[in-house]
């Protein structure tokens, strides 16, 4: 078994861990760090449930080896709320607009949308749909997710006008 020692920042905390080199980033986060918010829906890069932010950029954690994240910063769904537990505006908007049902795809949706709103604070509906086109949801039909996102974008623009 090939192992490496890696140092990885996750949600602002630094971790030094020994990992098997074939362990995926998703499995490392879920089972070694016990951050189970990131989910595995397909393990072949289609469903998007495993999406995390790698140095701020959305990436499918099932398609990365944990060793590749050595020296990098990861943000997972657990890192979206504030230190004192206040929900991120996107999370709050999802709660307000019924943007989730079973919640399995939700962490991947949230990290993907955090990136969208950072790059594009005033997206159109079409741009929101495009942004989450790589995230599968079998429950909602996406409409409430789009509504929630547009509302969150508005709130975030009001709180932090560019």
């Amino acid at each position: 078994m090939d192992q490496r020692r890696i140092t990885i920042g996750v949600n602002g905390t630094s971790f030094s861990e020994t990992v098997s080199t074939r362990t995926t980033l998703a499995d490392f986060l879920r089972h070694q760090l016990r951050l189970t918010g990131t989910h595995l829906g397909c393990e072949h890069g289609v469903c998007g449930a495993c999406t995390v932010l790698l140095d701020g950029r959305s990436a499918r954690s099932c398609l990365m080896l944990a060793v590749q994240a050595d020296g990098h910063q990861i943000t997972t769904v657990e890192g979206l709320e504030s230190k004192d537990g206040v929900l991120h505006p996107l999370q709050q908007a999802f709660a307000d607009h019924h943007g989730l049902q079973c919640g399995f795809c939700t962490p991947g949706m949230l990290t993907t949308l955090v990136e969208l709103l950072r790059d594009n604070p005033d997206p159109s509906e079409a741009e929101v749909r495009m942004a989450i086109s790589g995230n599968l949801c079998r429950c909602t039909g996406y409409q409430s997710i789009v509504t929630a996102t547009l509302d969150a974008a508005k709130r975030m623009r009001t709180e932090h006008p560019a």
Binding site: G41, H44, L80, A95, C137, G141, Q143
Partner: protein
């Protein structure tokens, strides 16, 4: 009295944990010392297992055991999973083995089980299990299953016919003999899958102290699973606990109890260590049940005005390789067909056949979308030929509102008469058609054609049976903390069961949902029940919760009246207190009320009332309650690519009283997405040799956000008299009419070319062939 929570668009209790990544799906559960299972699955659709050698796998470091059917047999009273819904219509029993060891009959069937330190090693060892197969011919197409000399799906069977029955009523032969017009067609609905975002999985552990076997499972029916497992293992029910943690979607297939669940449970007993198994998506394609696969020959007899005189035909239903559940899907399909309309005579002959494919059990809709597809296609066929507007022909035949309750001539699979309880179908259709601008569409279509664009509009009505009985137990208790505890075997899988029950209970007990703590789907917390399927839990569990809450309310007010020395009629509950209406200061906390009924040694209870404040109810409702709706769909067809785009959906839904509008909207829109998937994208393909052709999510196409059309959804509320809340099921409504409405719209778009749509999904590859045949030149 104004409502506090019932009917309100509240936030969901489930959401904070789910949003923060703090939920616990089965793979999130960690038990120290747990081992991981992986299954060796058949690569052949049909083969004899000649030999099986586990030595190489067992020798790998980190592998604790490799178990086969023979190993498990010693620990179970039966090595097969008894069908959950026995039916005397069955001609042969084909129950699934836990681990097959003689003859495998579908690609994906579980043969052996590796248990190792982690899932990576377990998967390594799976490839080291050496199996010698004698490959046998396989039946992939159900139409071949009954042809003379057909090979058998199971070698020891005499044929592939697993059941045969006729559904109907009235004198169909006379109806057809005397009819002015008879139209007929053949229809095919292709196999599709449910694909919840969370695959299946379970974790079994035996408690070292009391030897209870606990199984956490991503299941829709924990209590049924507990009973089945207890019986299989020869244990008392109390020593088996099955509970569903957070479940990432069910949509039907998770209502079945699976071989893997039994195998993992037995492995935990044999190894005396917790064992976890998490299905991956590729396994999901070849081992989680699927549905839709049906071939229909159907005819409709009408008079000159398009009034229906009768419908008849035959259904050939592909059941897969085993009976994993009953005949719900074909029975539901033939029942649903005539529901929305007055059909004086009806007969459908059904043959249910085995094939060497994954077994078939309900997927959202459970056969009803297929029956609806056939009826709506027949109506379009009649309309087009007789030159009657498609909305008009339906209007002439819909069951009128003043005919409710309307007794259909036949019964459900359980022998319960089918009686449409409430609903105004013509008004619902009129509403949809008006909102969709149906009357203006021909002008729009003409204008589009002048520009070389082909747009079409289609419609379909549906009536679906919801609220499958007989009951769903709910207990409501005022705990000593003052919080209200609700427990039920109803299972949550994303549809907001906890919120739904909290809304119903909070309505009676103080109006604050966060004070209602709901436990769902745990066989240790509730004695009896079934779980989630057939859009039943709001009806069945909701009714029991309502009744139990009313009883608890009554008791609370009785106790409080003694403690406050006031008349119970002058009391109400708000938040955490019981108070005297009009006298704000006179109140007592629910906590105090609860504590008062616990009793004190040697002292009488207040008012000599019975101890405790709780109620457990099993509201029994055998008759199903029928929801209805109408969908109008617009499409655009690109002639060059033969691609269909759904450009708009208007959906008017009637599911009785609405408890939470957000949840109802979400359920319908989600199901509409699935319906569009069935209409255009979802094709679970098998080769002639029974090899699955689509085994990943790049080949099997689920709807994404960019394919969703704008949806205009509105609701009518025709309360049902069948339950105290007036509610009907809503989880499957959205999928019911969509494939039919889309087919209708595509045909309308292509009407200049006379293309008929008789199959779904309508893939561009296939539509292009139809266009070529019709001589369409681009």
């Amino acid at each position: 009295m104004t409502t506090k929570t019932f009917g309100k668009r509240t936030r969901r209790l489930e959401d904070p944990d789910l949003l923060r990544g703090k939920a616990r799906f089965v793979d999130d559960i960690h038990v120290d010392g747990m081992l991981h299972a992986a299954f060796v699955r058949s690569p052949h659709a049909h083969a004899k297992i000649v030999s099986l050698d586990t030595a190489n796998a067992l020798a790998m470091p980190g592998v604790h055991a490799v178990l086969t059917g023979e190993d498990l047999r010693a620990h179970a009273l039966s090595d097969r999973l008894a069908v959950a819904l026995p039916d005397r219509v069955y001609k042969q029993q084909r129950n699934r083995p836990i681990l097959v060891d003689d003859e495998t009959v579908y690609v994906g069937e579980a043969i052996a089980m590796v248990i190792a330190d982690d899932p990576y090693v377990a998967e390594d060892a799976v490839s080291r299990v050496d199996i010698e197969f004698e490959v046998l011919p396989a039946i992939s197409d159900c139409r071949q299953a009954l042809s003379p000399g057909a090979l058998n799906v199971h070698s020891d069977a005499s044929d592939n016919l697993i059941a045969e029955f006729t559904s109907g009523y009235g004198d169909v032969n006379s109806a057809f003999a005397g009819a002015a017009h008879v139209f007929g067609e053949s229809y095919w609905q292709h196999r599709g899958c449910a694909h919840a975002m969370e695959c299946r999985g379970c974790l079994a552990a035996v408690d070292p102290l009391d030897h209870t076997l606990t199984l956490w499972s991503s299941t829709q029916t924990p209590l049924m699973g507990a009973r089945l497992l207890a019986e299989m293992l020869g244990r008392e029910e109390a020593s088996v606990r099955v509970l569903a943690p957070d479940v990432g979607g069910g949509f039907g297939p998770k209502l079945v109890f699976y071989p893997e669940e039994a195998a993992v449970a037995i492995a935990a007993i044999v190894l005396n260590k917790p064992v976890k198994w998490i299905e991956d998506r590729r396994e999901h394609f070849v081992s989680t049940t699927q549905e839709r696969d049906q071939y229909w020959e159907a005819e409709i007899a009408v008079d000159d005005g398009g009034k229906i005189l009768g419908v008849r035909g035959s259904l050939l239903h592909d059941h897969g390789a085993y009976t994993a559940r009953g005949l719900t899907v074909p029975q539901g399909a033939v029942s649903a067909l005539t529901l929305a309309y007055v059909v004086p005579a009806y007969r459908m002959d059904v043959k249910v056949v085995l094939t060497n494919k994954v077994p078939v059990t309900p997927v959202r809709g459970a056969g009803q979308p297929q029956g609806i597809f056939v009826m709506e296609r027949l109506l379009d066929l009649a309309a087009r030929t007789l030159k009657i507007d498609r909305a008009d022909i339906r209007r002439r035949n819909l069951v009128p509102a003043d005919a409710m309750p309307f007794k259909k001539g036949f019964v459900t699979r359980g022998g319960i008469p089918i009686v449409l309880d409430s609903g105004d179908y013509p008004a619902c259709q009129a509403d949809a058609v008006e909102k969709a601008g149906w009357a203006d569409f021909p002008a729009r279509q003409q204008a589009a054609r002048a520009e070389g664009q082909y747009i079409g509009i289609g419609m379909a009505n549906y009536v679906e049976g919801t609220g499958r009985g007989p009951f769903e137990q709910v207990s409501v208790k005022l705990a000593s903390s003052g919080l209200i505890h609700v427990a039920t075997g109803a299972a949550a899988m994303g549809q907001g069961t906890k919120t739904m029950l909290a809304q119903i209970v909070a309505e009676q007990l103080g109006g604050v949902m966060e004070r209602v703590v709901v436990t769902t789907g745990d066989s240790a917390k509730i004695a009896m029940g079934f779980g989630g399927f057939n859009s039943r839990q709001t009806v069945m569990a909701g009714s029991s919760a309502h009744l139990a809450a009313l009883k608890v309310r009554q008791k609370i007010l009785q106790v409080a009246s003694h403690l406050l020395e006031a008349d119970a009629a002058d009391l109400d509950i708000d938040g955490e207190n019981v108070f005297v209406v009009g006298a704000a200061g006179m109140k007592i906390s629910l906590r105090q009320v609860a504590k008062a009924m616990i009793g004190s040694a040697g002292f009488t209870l207040p008012g000599n009332l019975a101890p405790g404040i709780e109620a457990t109810e099993n509201v029994v409702i055998d008759a199903m309650t029928y929801a209805n709706g109408c969908a109008v769909v617009e499409v655009a067809v690109d002639l060059a690519t033969a691609a269909v785009t759904v450009t708009r959906v208007v959906f008017v839904h009637d599911g009785g009283k609405i408890i939470n509008p957000s949840i109802v909207d979400g359920q319908i829109i989600g199901a509409i997405a699935h319906g569009i998937g069935n209409a255009l994208y979802e094709w679970m393909g098998y080769g002639d040799d029974g090899q699955p052709l689509t085994t990943n999510l790049a080949d099997y196409l689920l709807m994404t956000s960019t394919e969703m059309p704008p949806i205009s959804l509105s609701h009518r509320e025709s309360p049902t008299p069948l339950n105290p809340l007036g509610v009907k099921g809503v989880g499957e409504s959205g999928v019911m009419p969509i494939p039919a409405a889309v087919a209708s719209a595509v045909e309308d778009a292509l009407s200049p070319f006379g293309v008929r749509i008789t199959q779904v999904p309508i893939r561009p590859n296939d539509l292009a062939a139809l266009l070529d045949k019709a001589g369409v030149v681009v």
